[in-house]
Symmetry: C2
Amino acid sequence: MTAKSDAPFSRVHIVGTGLLGTSIGLALSQQGVSVSLEDTSPSALALAEDYGAGHKPSSDDDAPQLVIVATPPDVVVDVVIASLHAFPQALVIDVASVKAQIQAALRAGSTDLTRYLGTHPMAGRERGGAVSARSDLFVARPWVICEGDSDSTAAMEAFVRSLGAIPLRMNAAQHDEAVALVSHLPQLVASLTASRLTGSPQATLSLAGAGLRDVTRIAASDPALWVQILSANAPAIVSQLTALRLNVDQVIEALTSLGEPGSRKVLATALQAGVSGVSALPGKHGISTSYSSLVVVIDDKPGELARLLTQLGDWKVNLEDLRLEHSPGAMVGFVDLTLGKDVVEDVEKKLVASGWRIAGENA
Amino acid sequence: MTAKSDAPFSRVHIVGTGLLGTSIGLALSQQGVSVSLEDTSPSALALAEDYGAGHKPSSDDDAPQLVIVATPPDVVVDVVIASLHAFPQALVIDVASVKAQIQAALRAGSTDLTRYLGTHPMAGRERGGAVSARSDLFVARPWVICEGDSDSTAAMEAFVRSLGAIPLRMNAAQHDEAVALVSHLPQLVASLTASRLTGSPQATLSLAGAGLRDVTRIAASDPALWVQILSANAPAIVSQLTALRLNVDQVIEALTSLGEPGSRKVLATALQAGVSGVSALPGKHGISTSYSSLVVVIDDKPGELARLLTQLGDWKVNLEDLRLEHSPGAMVGFVDLTLGKDVVEDVEKKLVASGWRIAGENA
């Protein structure tokens, strides 16, 4: 294999052939990079090799320039140290989803960490191991790089970009606090809310709408994986949960003393803070802005959604977001289109003129 | 105007011309039903009339057969009682989103409630007043009817069906407990989680993915409306929040004592309960079943999504659900298709063969 001239590293060694390791291997192999693979499970290793993620190390291999530690979090520290010793010329990175605990453990040892960088690709949505691996798993996803030696960091940024990802520099503590808020807290909130549904009568659940589905969707995530993630970032998550619990307490207090002056204001303030919070999330392409949504009713049959979107495409309408919602008991669906505020009125008129039914519009 | 023969009521009076009242008026007027409108706000009334939701009452009107009280919750009781007296032949219903408090207040009075029914159309997702009204707002949505006199209940079921909604019988307490769980709890959870985002650094928010967006989406709802809803169903919501808080406490306790035996099991149990809960939600058309999702990468330009869906339509693939996600900083989007488990593998092969990039597959 010949390395493409723009690949930042032409020889890469990957330890751990789960979803992340195998996906990186696939992407690099497709670029012509020489990838050697290692895993404590011979069958997992063979599977990743079959997928085309790389080859088993051989004595003919030149020394790797980059070693990627993509093992489960609980062995990352040992593998990073072993890799720094085994490959004395290589940059060594890990891709674990929590960073400070690993960094602290590494710093507590005597190994020189100049050639090490902690990183985290934000592409953990997919499940499963190598079988779920994709060479484009990282395309357009943020990939956090904890700041280290400046040459190494710059090389890592180039590497991350070569996989289609967006490099973001952040220190380990910042990263862990950030993911506690934007990833770990929502996961727990979704799981705990969804757990309240267990054992509910079917009649109760039949009233569920899009709101409940949204809030609980990620509760379907793999519990075993999440126990590891939560355990590795416990202090930051406890801090988020404690703040949330305080807010829950305030709402409970307000709801149990509605006769007291100020109770309804507590509720209004809590709800208004939610409006502010959700509007702080960056919109499409990182730009925070305001959109409107338009809900269109479609018949629930193949091709209807395509027909709607073809029409929108013909009108050069670019969707900011789109959601399809099916209604319990009915053979129609609702398509919630998110559009720029400047075009929504025009689009609605055109749709109505073309015979589409509009079920609602949200500011 | 001539009433269609299949309309259960040919003369309807609507008190309150907000989103619900105006939407009902629009739907009925389109069916040829004679609709008279009433509102304490002359301008709101004029707007609803301009929209075609009905006409101002005149001395020529025959007495209505149905009176719909669609006022804000805090005046529903008074308006229902006044309507029962003013229209001694009519069935009187309200459409408020919380039922037991209203029912108790009505029963505490001396008015005969034989001609009254409490109801709740589950179509409160849309915002705004009459300007957001749509004649098909209720199509395929559940509409709860609190059981009352059997003839009235049967007539109400026919009426609800004539608006395209799905009637569901439930008593007031069951209804309020159900919506506390499937609507009010998720709203609060979303709002409180979103409120944690306020003031976060842009770098933190830039790591937000689909999970956080899902969990916090409904936090954008109108606070003033929700203060009323929450206040009217306080005991049931407090019960849900208290149970949630207990679970939050358990997770905090487990995360702060990870060294203790059993701590990780507490986390795993909480997460697993979430998996069970979300899988208890009814799927498309009320059928609870298992789907797979397939994430396809598309270029972010008008027409790409339509091209994908046209292809799926050509293959007669029916989507269970669809979500479009845009990636911060990138000019591509991810389309998360939810498909029956039996077809997902075949669809994936066909898509890849047609040149589409697959970014992941979830069980």
